[in-house]
Structure formats: structure tokens, C-alpha cells
Amino acid sequence: MQALSFAVHIPLVCFGIALPAIVLFVEWLHLRTGDPIYLTLARRWTRIMAALFAVGVITGTILSFEMGMLWPGFMARFGSVFGLGFAIEGFSFFLEAIFIGVYVYGWGRLSPRAHLLSGLPIVLAGMAGSLMVISVNAWMQHPSGFHYSGGHVSDVHPLAALFGNSFLWNELVHMYLAGFIVTGFLLATPYALKRLRGTWGRYERTAFAIPVAVAAVVSPVQVLVGDWAARDVATEQPTKLAALEGLAHTTRGAPEHLLGWYADGRVKFGIAIPKLLSLLAFHDPNATVQGLDAVPAAQRPPVNIERISFQLMVAIGTGLALLGAWFLLAAWRRRSLPASHWFYLAATAAGPLSVVALIAGWVVTEVGRQPWVVYHVMTTSEAVTNAGGIPVGYGLLAATYVLVAGAVAWVLRRLAAAPLKLAPQAVAGSPGGS
């Protein structure tokens, strides 16, 4: 159930991280140039931001309910260790809510400079919030900062638990960049569609170029960061790596398998590239990679879910990086947007695909941790609630989310359909430079 809520919440988080920054950039462009096109864009995107944030608030609230409703064992035992991260996250959420209120309702009611400034805390609070949430997740992956014996937690050091953790940094950077990639491509998708349908005025070009430029700069870097994260997983969570790669036995100079299906201790129908896994994971083609057989069968995560999600994420991520590189190349060589029809087809697909990659990536970290909720300390079954009726609640919540998703789609269509309603107003306001 919580998985469902997270899957709904995560894409919204991406918008929370990246959209304010992009909107602010556009508003700043308007202030620099006085060009009303940027004002139109910024106001249009502000409405999207407000609608998505409203939904983000509710999914976020639901998550905090669920923490206790579903994982009472986990909360009761470890709340004192990691809860601080959420308490601080609560504050940044708060700041975000406050300044979104000021920003959204401040259009046309605050001076331009004050309005631009009121948007800055949203960006900062988004950063702080993701830092906190990911610090908790990183702690679950790589727990420290407490002493645990016989079901009791003692000697608790929350600061060390949350921030003295090598996992935090690669997870944080990976997630933060993912936020910009998803927002960039998804925001550009409707404008790429317009290009395919033949509407390609300066408004559409600008609305397309800005988010895609963000995603294009970020997505190649994400490949590097992902590689860094994978190397950390290799040293700290070898079982997860083994599941990702479907490596049954501890192997020296392990091969990398592309595609295929894991069954009976090996990858079937896959393409094996000799020694690549050892090279990628440890920068040494002959390094030993620990296999699944290093832990008892009960402590292994579901291998095929892991492998498929991982390969999906890597494949889409690489594709997005190539798309970004295409954009960069065109910009560098010809100082213009790519002209090829194919680019816009790909860009249309990139938005939804980036969400798929995002969710696949989240499955990789979370399912890869199974059967542990706190890695090597507490299993998921120890943490889950004893209360009955979970399926009923699950069904109710799932139905609600389907409704909400439909509603969001509807409202976004409506917002996008309102044809440049703001433009005439913006134009009417600008002559005379008042």
C-alpha cells in the first residue's frame, strides 16, 4: 500500500524539486528582457505547479499517516533514530507550502522583484526536503548511529545515523538530478506534440527549449552519477548487486548480462559480456563479485523484478542521455533547436519514459533491500502492522488514487487547453513600460 502511495508521490516530488527552479528562471528572463512571452509561460507553469503541489501535499500527508498505520513495528522501534529527518522535512514542507501560497497568489499583487524573491524559498525548501527524506531512506539502506540488541535500540545518535552515511550522497544526487530530468522532459512533452502537429510559433519553441535544455544538460551527468551509485551498492549491498545482475555464484571476473530472464541460478536468453560487471562495479576486470549464494535463500530479494527494473532504468536513462546529447550537439553546431522530425517524436516519448525510469529506479532501491526494511537489522515482516483489513484499505486507496490521477490528468488538460489566455492580458499590460 505504501508502495502505491510512493509511486504516486515520487513524480510529484520531482516537480516539487525542479519546477519552481524552472519557473523562476523564466520569470527572471521576463524581468531581464521585459518580453511578455516569458511572463505568459511563467504564469502558465505556475498554475501547473500549484495544482501539482496541492496533490503533492495530500499524497505527502497520506504517506505520513501510512508510516504509522502500516509499519508500527518499524516506527515504534526506530522512530527515535530516523524520525528527526522527517521532523525537519516537515518544516521544509511547511516553508514550501507557505511560499507557494505567497508566490501563486502574489502574481500581479506583489512587486516583480518581491515576487521573484518569494519563489526562492520554494526551491531551497525543495532541496532541503529531499535531503531529509533521502537521508532516512539511505539510513534504511545502510543503517548506523545506534546500537541494536534483543529488539531494543540503545545508544542512539540521530545525526550520525542520518548524515554520517556514505549512501546519502549518491542517492541524494541521483534523485535530485532525476527530478530535473523528469520535470524537464515531461514539461516539454506537450510542446513536442504541438511541433508534431504543426504548431511551432515562438511561444511553443521557447516553452519546449527551456525544459528540454534543463533535461539535456542533466541527463548525461545522471549516467555518471548512476555509475557512482552502483559502485557504492557493489561495496555496501553486494546481495542487491547480485540480484540486479542475476549473479548466482560468487565469481571472479564476472560477466554482465543484458536482457534475459533469471531462472535456476543463471540468466537465460541473455547476452553476456565477459568481465564487464567486475569492471563496472570495481574498476577491475578481474575483481571478485559476490553472488546470491553468499546469503541464505530467504535473504535474497526477488531477482527478476530487480533485474528487469534495473535494466529498464539503465536503458531509458541511456536513451535520455543520448537524446540530451543530440540536443546539445544541435545547439552547439548550429545554434538552433534540432530540426529532425525524429527528435520531436523521441522528445514526446521521453516524458512518460522518464517517469517509467524513475519508478523502475525506485523499485531497484526498495525491492533490492528486501526482505529487510532496515538493512540487515529488521525484516519487513517484523515491521508491518498486525491489524487486519489491509486488503480493504488497499483497495479503497487504490481506487482513490485512480480517481485522483484521472482528475489530475483532466485538470492539466484543461490548463493546457486554455489557449494562451494570459497572453493578451500580458501584452495589454506592457506597452508604455508601466
Binding site: 501539482l52 518544516f91 497572453a423
Partner: protein, 437 residues
Amino acid sequence: MHLYLLPILFVLAGLALYVVLGGADFGAGLWQLATLASPRREEEAEERAERIREHAHHAMGPVWEANHVWLVFVLTVTWTAYPQAFGAIASTLAAPLLLAALGVVARGAAYALRAGGRDRRELARIDTIFALASLLTPFALGATLGAIVSERVPPGNAAGQLFSSWLTPTSLLVGVLAVALSAYLAAVYLAADAAREGQAELVEAFRVRALLAAAVAGALAVAGLFVLHGDAHRVYHRLLDGPGLAGLAVSVAAGLATVGLVLARRFEAARGSAALAVSGMVAGWALAQQPYVLHGLTLRAAAAPHETLVLVVVATIAGATILFPSLGLLFGLTLRGRFDTGAEHRAPSEAPARSDGRAQGALSPLRAGLRTRLALAALLAGVGLLTVAEAPWAHGVGVACLFAAMIVGFLALDPARLAAGAPGAGEESAGGPPGGG
């Protein structure tokens, strides 16, 4: 003063603020429900009902998200500082909490939907969802609280009854009381907002509603004492002849004062006293309930280890120093009417159009080449430090380099200029309005 008491004070303060601010929000939704439910034939009455709904919607627009984050604050501090109590409450009372959660989802979704609503019928339908959810959520949260008051939540993972723990007289009473209080607070606040905007008709409408709701909430509170006597005897005693009496007295006095102020049309003062009445109720309950937080579990036993408590207190105080000025800004702007309809053109947030050569790209073209080279250099350094080097410090510097590469690279791209330039293989620039000047 013991350290383990400090976080509960924060939690209670947060709870009081949530009841007051979030409650006023729920109440606004309830008054929308009232206009939707009463059958109407004439066009004029329909329009009047719509004005009431619009007023209620607009009054909470800028602040509702902030109002509801108080609940998140209450939950996070509780689970950090009193993890055992939180685990027990949330698992035993999963059913009412799920109801509250569904209400929160429906409310937020309806709120977001309203932005896309086009005609009157659509808006009325969206408002109905919103209003029903505004009824469900405070009731469910009140019922949750009622189960804690009547001490039906034993410590442990879902150790209490899933349904009979909260389908009790106390829970029902607190739930209904929560709804009534929400309606009362909202009516007072909406009357004050209408008075500020000078809408005489709406002032009267909400003044009558405030008085009605005050009478109902007062009657419920008195009836509640009898219910507590039968169902939650320990709390009843500590409330009437124990430490809870002070809170109760403040609540009663402030409640009566509010009625007087509303009668005298001093709405801004009534805002404060109405909030005080509700806060007094929360304080009275807390004093009556302590030293136990759950059945047989004292607050001291439920508290987290020392270092966690210290950090929670420090984080809360540090957070509050940032939070309260920001909240002050938001409410200051809202209450001074800066976000009212009609205030829009007081300060147009449009920059003057420039007619110099910078109208299309914001950055000067000369340095674009330099930026590209800088970005490439930072990228190379980042790859070297992050991917090739092994030391953790090198990874840190590498990430910093990569961020620099991305930012400088983005500026070098200057997407606004790309878009302004040759229009790809498309049509003439017809979609956007022409540049300034």
C-alpha cells in the same frame, strides 16, 4: 521541567494550531456543503449560494496548504519523540485514520480540480466533493482523538480493537464536536474576511452562521461532559476537579467572549478569542490526560532516548525561527487583503519592456563560447574525480564540478535564444506575442 515534556508541548501547540487553522478550512468546506444541500429554485438564491461558496473558496486559497501542514508537523514530531505511542495509535486506529486520509485526498484533489473547472455545474460538483470530504476528515480525526481520550489504545502493534476502539460514545462525541468547532471557527473567520472586503451581505450571512454554530458547539461541549463521565471517567475527573479545569475555564470564557464580539460585530477580535477557546479545550484535555498518553503507558516511558529528544527540540526551535516569520508574512499579506480579488492591479508584476538589443535572450552572446568551454572543463574534472578517482573527498568535489558543469552548460545553451532564433523546420512565429519594444 523534564526534557521529555518539551516535544509534547510542541505537539500540542501544533495540534491547537491545526484545530484552529485547519479547522477553519474544514469549516469553510462545510458551509459550502450547507449551500449545496438546501434545495433552491430561484435564480437569485442560486447566485447568492454561489457567492457564499466563492467567498469560502477564495478566503482559504492562499493559506490552506500551510494550514494542513500542521498535521504533518504533529505526526512527525510525535513519531520521533514518542515512537512507541505513535506506533500503537496508528496501528490500532488504522480505520479512522484511513477515513481521514481518504478525506484529505479528496479535499486536495477537489481543490486542485477547481483550477480547471469551467462552468457553474462543474464547479458545483467539485465543491460537493470538497465539502463532503471537509465533513469526513475532521470527524475521523476527532474519533481518533476520542479513542485516545477514552484510553482504548493499548501499547503495542495493533493491540487494540480495529472498530470497537473508536466506535464509542466518546469518539462519536469528539468527532461531531470537531465538525461543529470547524464550522464555528470558519463562520467567524469568513465573517471577518467579508467585513474586510466590505461585502455587507456576506458579513450578515456568516454572522448568523457563527452564532448558530457557537450554540451547537457549546451544547455539544456540555453534552460531552456527561459522555465523558460515563465513558472516560479518569479524564472526566481530572478535567473537572483536576489540572484540566484551568484549560476548561479559559475555553468557556473565551467562547462566551467570542459570542459577545460577534454580536457586537467586532470580527477581528473574535478571530483571536475563537482561537483561544479552541486552544483552551486542547490544553484542558492534555492536562486531564497526563501523565498517561495511552492506557498504562506514561509519557515518560513512551519518550525517545535523550539525544533524540535534544535534537528534536533544537530542530523544532530552529525551524520555528524560520517558520514563524514566513507564516507571519503569508498571513500578513492575506489578512491585509493583498490577495483579495481586485487587489490584482495594485502592483503589476510585469517588468517594463526593454527596447535595447537584449529583448530576445537575456544573456550577452559574447560570453557564450567562454561558458561552453568552462562547462566542458568542469565536466571533465567531474568525470575524473567521480568516476576514476576512489577517495570519498574526490567524489564530493567531483559532484560539485558536475553541478557547476550543468549550471554553466545550461547558461551557455541559453535556450531562450535558441528558441528565438531560426524556427527549426516549422512555421512563422505566430503563436507568441511579439517581443517588447
